[in-house]
């Protein structure tokens, strides 16, 4: 990205009002849902099913998009099922951290696509810390109080260091962070896979995984029948508020933003822009690492290869939130609901849960083109004007 680009971005950030952003986010969501519905409808033609949802023009359609979305929201616990709600909130809690991770980088004009890798390594670090340290701790509350923070700190440090790397490459070698962070994702997954399979994993099984963490290191479930722990949700909410205050109310936050968006201007103002770029990426990586720890402590109770793509979901969460830490809260809830409900559409209707990943991409795409909505808006505006003149 060159300087003119950054200035354009800065201009746009100033120009776009909060209201406009909220409208764009909602409109993007709506469009993504409609396009996703069309994809599901069309996918129902080649799909094979025992009883099709409906038959139209002699063709069997396996899926009914409206029924699918209703099932999705029911599966997300929108209609009062506590276990489903727990699943949604569990996803939401981890997404808060991956969403914040991406948002922190975005605030500084940096694209951290590497949250996934930072999360994978953070998760592995916390899982191994627990497995290695737990035997020397009492299996009670004391053990929990010692080991949970320790696991989180280790994950934070590992994720942070892994975020520092692309930060350094960006600041001092001008290597584009989109490419470096994606490459680092592959490297992280490869290293983690290698370590767990060959050295530190559970050698009694064929699966590439660590031994499970002991009961006292698992966060206590808040809703029976689920693994959701309100502690993680509260921690995530606190992080979102803290980051909001950091960026809106402190000089440090202001410097972090300007250093990435307009390094020359920051340097001119006596701020070390390069160091702040590294700091932003480190903070971003640290949040990715924490997401990994939360996944181990609350969701999976061990590290296992092929972690869910929560880091990539974080990109959509952040973009939908307009990269505002407070906006990340409702955006995480939305994606948590989508992910929570995706199991239900698979189970009840046979719609592949990967649909949520398609929606994720569509939402990002629509948010990326505010001009599209402005055009629609002005078109609609002209329409109303025309109506008035006619009347």
């Amino acid at each position: 990205m060159n300087r003119a680009d950054l200035e354009r971005l800065l201009d746009r950030l100033v120009d776009a009002t909060v209201l406009e952003r909220v409208v764009i986010s909602f409109a993007s969501l709506l469009f993504a849902i409609v396009v996703g519905g069309v994809i599901v409808l069309l996918a129902g033609i080649p799909a094979t099913c025992r009883d099709p949802a409906f038959v139209f023009a002699g063709r069997e359609f396996c899926y009914d998009p409206i029924e699918m979305y209703l099932t999705l929201f029911e599966g997300a616990g929108a209609f009062g099922s506590l276990t489903n709600l727990g699943l949604t909130l569990q996803e939401t809690s981890v997404l808060l951290f991956t969403g914040l991770s991406v948002a922190v980088a975005f605030r500084a004009g940096l694209f951290n696509i590497g949250t996934q890798g930072q999360m994978v390594l953070g998760a592995l670090g916390s899982a191994l810390t627990i497995v290695w340290v737990a035997p020397s701790l009492p299996e009670n509350v004391v053990g929990t109080v010692v080991i949970v923070p320790l696991a989180v700190v280790v994950a934070t440090v590992i994720g942070g260091l892994y975020g520092t790397l692309p930060g350094l490459m960006k600041a001092y070698a001008d290597a584009h962070e989109v490419i470096t962070t994606i490459m680092l994702n592959f490297v992280a997954m490869g290293i983690a896979f290698y370590l767990v399979r060959n050295h530190v994993g559970d050698t009694t099984t064929d699966s590439v995984q660590t031994t499970p963490i002991p009961d006292f290191a698992r966060l206590p479930p808040t809703i029976d029948g689920t693994r959701f722990s309100i502690l993680v949700l509260l921690f995530g909410l606190a992080a979102a508020i803290a980051l909001y205050l950091l960026y809106e109310r402190t000089v440090v936050g202001y410097d972090l933003r300007t250093s990435g968006l307009a390094p020359e201007a920051a340097d001119y103002g006596g701020v070390n822009a390069k160091r702040n770029i590294v700091a932003s990426m480190t903070l971003s990586g640290a949040l990715g690492g924490i997401a990994g720890a939360m996944y181990v402590l609350m969701v999976h109770y061990r590290w296992e290869t092929d972690m869910p793509p929560l880091g990539f979901d974080g990109i959509a969460v952040s973009i939908l939130a307009g990269n505002n830490p407070l906006g990340v809260i409702p955006a995480s809830l939305l994606f948590g609901a989508l992910k929570g409900g995706s199991l239900q559409i698979d189970f009840a209707l046979g719609v592949p849960p990967e649909l949520v990943e398609v929606l994720r991409g569509l939402i990002i795409l629509f948010v990326a083109m505010p001009e599209f909505f402005r055009m629609i808006g002005s078109y609609a505006g002209y329409g109303t004007d025309g109506g008035e003149t006619d009347g």
């Binding site: 799909a47 070698a173 490419i179 592959f186 592949p352 991409g361 990326a368």
Partner: protein, 354 residues
Amino acid sequence: MANAEPPKRLGPVVGLVIGLFVVLVFAVVLVPGLRELGADVVGIVDASYVRSALRFTVPIAFAGMGGIFAEKSGVINIGLEGLLIISAFTAIAVMWLLGDQGDAGRMLAMFGGVLASLLVTLLFAIICIEFKADQIIAGLAVWLIALGFAPFGSIIIWGTVNSDSVGSFDPLSIPLLSDLPYVGQVLFRATPPVYLMLLAVPFSWYLLNRTAFGKHLQASGEDPKTLDTAGVSVRKVRYAGVLLSGIYCGIGGAGLALNAGQFVGGGETITSGRGLIGLTTYLIANYNPVGAFLSAFFFAGLDALQLQIQRVPGIELSSTLIGIIPYVAVLIVLTFVGKTRMPESAGEHYESEE
């Protein structure tokens, strides 16, 4: 990136590489045991290794060369990766629908892949050019949509994220030339996508550097206003540049999948970042298609090591670790090999003042 910077500073890097090479040679000759190992490693580089490296080069080189056209025209296409995925998936789906129809069917499948990639690219172009989307985010979205859609489609068709095994391209021997020692084995006993790639390299160079279209393309990225003043539509040139990248990625993705005979939708899918490695190749090569091809071949060579190294007795290296070598190489290259000067107006919208 500041434009006043010298475009490249290769000197120290070349020195470093040569230095490392000399150290390596000394170590191999002097340290007992390493000599045998050295002989084994050299033994890896046989005709079959180069052949598989060339096959691996296909998606990277096509993504790289295609990316050049888009970016030279002023539109950064980071969605190359997604286009490879879409094309790979579509090509295999068409193959599966057709059943085994020989090479004609495979070419048809390839055409299907190119068409799908072209369609998605057209959407991307409209979004970037008409709706002035942020090109990086839109490209990212293309990748993420493909990353979700391909496994989604695979489950609809095959019931799992991976496709059934369909036929793959057989090597096609060119009479006489394939009888040449070594070179014949490598270059003239290859699969159709490899031949297409070997043809596309000089073609792309010629198109970019020796034709009016190429000059328009470069002007559209460097100085759109002047091009506009000269009476050439910047919009059309940019559409052409972006769509070309779609066609190239289509061939690359379909070639990758049809060389393998299967679509793998798990994880980051069968393409595994090769589109982004392609993007790196043209940054290294400073937008020269020939250079992009050569760096693609370098990365693919590292990629192909995974297959070969298992044949060497005495090397106890995990194939997973060897698998990350190409990605590490990309990181090293991006960090230490000079700065590339991007086209002046790449990433910016151009408003014609009609």
